[in-house]
């Protein structure tokens, strides 16, 4: 009897271990996908203003060092053409340039938890890096189908000492290519505060790329749509590209 119990215990333990290993493997693959070495793209961002109007911006975006550095410059509309944001060290340092006053201003590091200009994304949401791997403990919750695609459902529990961006995230990743299709972000009260939906996933230069992303903020009852118009992963940043000088260009 005792032996049987030990075998059952070992089996359960091994199963749990295997599940954890699977979760880590999936999250590693997701992190690799979401953090290409370099990337250059153009796209649109549509927000809903506080008086309920829809406003669309066009921007060009550059990312380097697996998402550790990024530069986003707005190109349309004319009102903000040239305004740019530079994030360094996984969004720990954020700089912004105002073409109208020709001034560069630094935002504090903890601004990375703030929303990126009117959108429902935070600077941290936008940045890549290995946040999922370093600041969370993944747990495999099972398989679920999203829009006809079989997905792994992974729960990411934040490690408090690592200052995670959210206490908990639930992520659905496609089994076919590890591409994430949905992320539910939870706040400290266990409320699903935001949801990110990724769609129109196309294989571009070997990377499954979601050309449409919608972030829904359940608290503010708002949503932000990001659409990628052009993207390449073959771009290599010139030396010192992610600097104040590039910001002002």
């Amino acid at each position: 009897m005792k032996t049987k119990l030990i075998i059952v215990f070992i089996l359960i333990f091994s199963f749990a271990q295997a599940q954890d290993q699977l979760a880590i493997k999936i999250i590693r693959a997701v992190t690799d996908l979401m953090s290409p070495e370099n990337m250059k793209s153009t796209g649109t961002q549509t927000i809903v203003t506080s008086s309920g109007k829809t406003r669309t911006f066009e921007f060009e975006s550059y990312m380097g060092g697996k998402g550790k550095s990024s530069l986003t410059r707005y190109t349309k509309p004319a009102a903000i053409r040239g305004q740019a944001f530079l994030t360094l060290n996984n969004a720990d340092d954020i700089w912004t340039y105002f073409p109208r006053t020709k001034r560069v201003r630094k935002l504090a590091s903890h601004a990375k938890k703030q929303k990126v200009q009117g959108s429902d994304f935070t600077y941290e949401d936008m940045g890549g890096g290995d946040v999922f791997l370093t600041k969370f403990i993944p747990k495999y919750l099972g398989d679920e189908s999203i829009d006809g695609e079989t997905c792994w459902k992974i729960e990411l529990i934040g490690i408090p000492e690592q200052d995670p961006p959210y206490p908990k995230i639930v992520l659905w990743s496609r089994k076919s290519d590890y591409s994430p299709v949905k992320l539910d972000y939870f706040d400290e009260h266990e409320y699903n505060s935001k949801t990110l939906l990724l769609s129109d996933i196309q294989n571009i230069e070997g990377f499954p790329t979601a050309l449409k992303m919608v972030m829904i903020d359940h608290k503010e009852r708002s949503r932000t749509k990001m659409e990628t118009l052009e993207v390449t992963y073959k771009w290599t940043p010139p030396k010192n590209f992610f600097s104040e000088r590039s910001l002002k260009k």
Binding site: S51, A79, T101, R105, L107, A108, K115, D187, E220
Partner: protein, 911 residues
């Protein structure tokens, strides 16, 4: 027993007419007196079950918290005009006010008016009320009163805005905070410009600019600064139904009086009390008009049908007397009518007139056949009486079945309508035959008086064409039944697609001034009037509940006393910053400006402009329209070089001769610096804030009369009416904070749930009870089922037709479903009764006689309900349409299905 009773009544009508009339008159006078005690409540919460905790809590809030029952004055115009108007109106409203049109002594209706912040209190405790993060950010500004120092510190603080997460403009609260800051700077720069231009400045204007900079705008102004809200705390509450009308009318009259002296200002009343008054006034007015219209239309229809001038008069007089009896009894049983029960009279008109039609119809028919007065009275009552009594009983039982519901909306409507219906039925059996006999005798006397020996034979007024149609259907039953089946299937499919409209605003009266002003408040102040309330028994509980509610995803903002009464820990954490400010400011002095200072001032003004421009760009990208628009007012368009902004005008003024500039800058500095220093030092008061030290105006807003309860007000983050899922989310999340949550969103959510459940249960019970009554009446399972079949098919047609004509189900018209079960059954009952009396192959006589009565009763019922279409309350109108569809459908299904069944049954018998 019924036959015996009918015989007795016929006998009394013929032989004891005078006594009957006297008795009826006496009962009518008594019930008329009783009916005067009836009143109406405009509160939706009064439709919930009596012991419902949400209703009890809501009533407790209305009773205990002055702020929950308010009249809101919305003033619109230019900023200076609306402020002047508010200052004139406030003292006027606090005086005793006469009620327009009433010769009574003036009464004080307004206890207090909140229309601007208590500046004295803010001066005294300003910093203790600021959050710790805000103090950290803002303390730099309060270091130097001198122009160069203040401008430099202001810019430093402004630039800090970008680096503190708490100050990011990501929520409405933070956006509002940024607006206060922008308005303060704009006001202060405005005074600077004025001084540079003229060399003088009014001390009061300088002090007001400092107040605005330090404490924000004192008046409750809209974002575009062209509307102002005055919150009137009345001496009565929403519970005092009569005071609502008199008090609101008195305030309105005073408002109009003051408006006459302010031609550029518009103002109106809204808020719970004003809306309640409008709803009560317009709904009763609408219902009175509806009743008059329906009576007129019914009278005209009856005149055409009976070609007897006195028929409609007799029927209507009988109905009116029946209604008076009903009102008298109802006033005793349910003295306060709610929004739903208030329409019971309209339902009674529609249904009660039917009894008269059946009795007059058979009476005239019998007289046309040559029967004597006695014989015709008895035969008329015998032939129609059974159908009328069974119909009345089935309808009354259907209404009584509504009492199974928990909601007062349904149970009280069921009770009062059933009582009313039985009262009208009794008057029809007692009064109408007496009237008909008295009329005939009077005619006889006149004939004798005029020397006419031969009595003119009354014409046969039966609808022969309906009889022919009935024969046709009877002879071709399968064609009729298949046609009905196809139509029913099509309409069932259509009905399946019908949706439910949860938007309560679509039920409200359109164009009511108080409702329209609610929209103005929503547009201009971004404030919803659909608030939820939570009551706490201590300040600590209120603080905890507020903190919990703030974190709910469906909540936009929460307001409670903790805004003005931070916890002891919070207050303690603020003290070091306040003491730092006090220390710096007590040492600071505004030195007269020199030539060197002028360069710094110029540079800092330019820096301030740049800061504001960057703020504007961030607001544009951030979608914070209010901040963006305010920045645009100050620094000009984001897309073009600035022209004619306060900064461009300042730059022009800065080109003046240096000596003159220094002199004028010094005048400006002298005008505000001492007041600035004194105000800041006053604000550094660290005396702990307690309930006792708060001004009454603030405490009254959040605390009950005896200060034992505290109110938390919760504003939803979305539109609760346009999205039922969101309403459920909001209500559900609030319940996790407290089970005692109440307010319109919570009450309406409960009403939706309870009425849907009540409606379903009542409908099932009605069907069972009606079938049992029919079974007792007909003593035949088959005939009882035949009588109910047209009703079942008619109900399907009703929903299908509603969907086909673009109607949705809603809170009010969903009541039509159980109602139609009670109303629609009558048609089948009358036709089956007559069929059983006339025997086989009798479709012709059944439809030409009873069919005529059924057509007339259907039309009169439709006319009565149709009159509600003219009610300003769209809810009544939607119910009206649903009932018209239902009554019409039941008529058609009855006159098609029953003759077809008669044909099939007769064929079977002859086979």
């Amino acid at each position: 027993m019924r036959d015996r009773l009918i015989k007795t009544l016929a006998d009394w009508a013929v032989n004891k007419s005078k006594l009957m009339l006297w008795a009826i008159g006496l009962i009518t006078v008594i019930t008329l007196v009783l009916s005067a005690g009836m009143s109406m409540t405009p509160k939706w919460s009064d439709m919930l079950p009596k012991g419902d905790p949400r209703t009890i809590e809501f009533d407790r809030i209305l009773e205990e918290f002055q702020s929950a029952s308010s009249i809101v004055v919305v003033v619109q115009g230019l900023e200076s005009d609306i402020k002047a108007f508010a200052e004139d109106l406030a003292p006027r409203l606090l005086k005793p006010l006469p009620i327009p049109g009433k010769d009574t002594d003036p009464v004080v209706y307004v206890r207090r008016i909140d229309y601007k912040a208590d500046l004295a209190f803010m001066h005294e405790h300003g910093f203790m009320l600021m959050k710790e993060d805000d103090l950290k950010n803002m303390k730099d500004i309060f270091q130097e009163p001198g122009l160069t120092g203040l401008l430099t510190n202001m810019n430093n603080s402004f630039e800090k805005e970008f680096i503190q997460p708490e100050e990011s403009l990501s929520s409405r609260e933070e956006e509002d905070g940024a607006l206060v800051f922008l308005n303060g700077i704009n006001g202060w720069l405005g005074e600077m410009e004025q001084t540079l231009e003229t060399g003088t400045i009014e001390p009061a204007a300088a002090e007001a600019a400092v107040d605005k900079l330090l404490l924000g705008e004192p008046y409750f102004l809209s974002y575009d600064r062209q509307a102002l809200i005055m919150n009137l705390v009345p001496t009565f509450s929403m519970v005092d139904a009569f005071m609502i009308v008199d008090g609101t009318d008195a305030v309105q009259a005073a408002l109009i009086e003051v408006l006459a002296a302010h031609p550029n200002v518009q103002a109106g009343l809204t808020g719970a009390i004003a809306v309640g008054r409008d709803e009560m006034y317009y709904s009763t007015q609408g219902l009175e008009l509806s009743m008059l219209l329906s009576m007129f239309a019914i009278g005209a229809l009856l005149y055409m049908a009976f070609r007897m001038a006195l028929a409609p008069v007799l029927a209507l007089v009988n109905l009116i007397i029946g209604l008076i009896w009903a009102a008298g009894i109802v006033a005793v049983v349910v003295p306060v009518l709610n929004i739903m029960t208030a329409m019971f009279m309209i339902i009674l008109i529609g249904l009660g007139i039917d009894f008269s039609i059946h009795v007059i119809s058979t009476f005239t028919e019998m007289r046309a056949k040559g029967l004597s007065l006695e014989e015709a009275t008895l035969a008329g009552l015998q032939k129609s009486g059974k159908g009328v009594s069974t119909g009345a009983l089935t309808t009354a039982v259907a209404f009584l079945a509504l009492m199974i519901g928990d909601s007062r909306a349904m149970s009280e409507l069921g009770l009062v309508t059933a009582i009313g219906l039985l009262a009208v039925m009794v008057s029809t059996f007692v009064l109408l035959p007496t009237f008909l006999v008295v009329r005939e005798r009077r005619q006889e006397r006149q004939r004798v008086k005029k020397g006419l020996s031969q009595k003119t034979q009354p014409k046969d007024l039966s609808f022969t064409s309906m009889g022919k149609a009935g024969t046709l259907i009877q002879n071709n039953p399968w064609i009729s039944l298949v046609t009905v089946l196809i139509i029913t299937i099509l309409l069932a499919f259509s009905g399946k697609k019908i949706t439910f409209n949860h938007n309560m605003m679509d039920m409200e009266a359109e164009g009511l001034p108080s409702i329209m002003l609610q929209d103005t408040i929503q547009d201009k102040f971004d404030l919803s009037m659909d608030l939820a309330y939570l009551v706490s028994e201590s300040i600590e509980e209120s603080r905890a509940v507020t903190a919990q509610a703030k974190d709910l995803p469906s909540v936009a903002s929460v307001d409670d006393i903790s805004t003005f009464l931070p916890s002891a820990e919070q207050q303690a954490s603020r003290i070091p910053y306040i003491l730092e400010i006090k220390n710096l400011m007590s040492k600071a002095q505004a030195e007269p400006l020199t030539n060197e200072d002028l360069a710094i001032v110029r540079q800092e003004i330019e820096r301030l402009e740049m800061n504001l421009m960057e703020f504007q760009s961030m607001a544009f990208l951030g979608g914070q329209d209010k901040v963006f628009n305010r920045c645009t007012d100050i620094v000009g368009s984001i897309e073009a070089p600035p022209t004619n902004t306060i900064f461009t005008r300042l730059y022009d003024l800065l080109t003046q001769e240096e000596a003159l500039l220094i002199e004028r800058f010094n005048i400006f500095q002298d005008s505000y610096a001492d007041y600035f220093t004194a105000s800041v030092l006053k604000m550094t008061n660290t005396t702990p804030l307690t309930l006792e030290t708060l001004p009454v105006s603030i405490v009254d807003r959040y605390a009950s009369k005896d200060r034992s309860l505290f109110l938390t007000t919760v504003l939803p983050s979305g539109n609760i009416w346009q999205n039922r899922l969101f309403l459920d989310q909001f209500g559900g999340e609030l319940e996790t904070v407290s089970k005692r949550t109440t307010g319109m969103p919570v009450i309406m959510r409960a009403l939706f749930e309870i009425i849907a459940r009540d409606g379903r249960n009542a409908a099932i019970l009605t069907l069972v009870l009606v079938y049992l009554i029919l079974l007792i009446d007909f003593r035949s399972f088959r005939d009882a089922l035949f009588a109910m079949l047209p009703l079942a098919v008619g109900a399907i047609w009703m929903i299908g037709l509603m969907q086909l004509f673009g109607f949705q189900l809603d809170m009010m018209n969903v009541m039509a479903l159980p109602l139609i079960l009670g109303i629609g059954i009558d048609d089948g009952v009358h036709v089956i009764h007559r069929w059983r009396q006339e025997g086989p192959r009798s479709a012709n006589i059944v439809l030409s006689s009873t069919g005529k009565a059924v057509l007339l009763t259907s039309l009169t019922t439709m006319l009565a309900f149709g009159s509600m279409m003219f009610s300003p309350f769209r809810g009544y109108a939607s119910l009206s349409f649903a009932l018209i569809f239902g009554v019409g459908a039941c008529f058609f299904t009855t006159v098609i299905i029953i003759p077809a069944i008669m044909g099939l049954v007769d064929r079977k018998k002859t086979m």
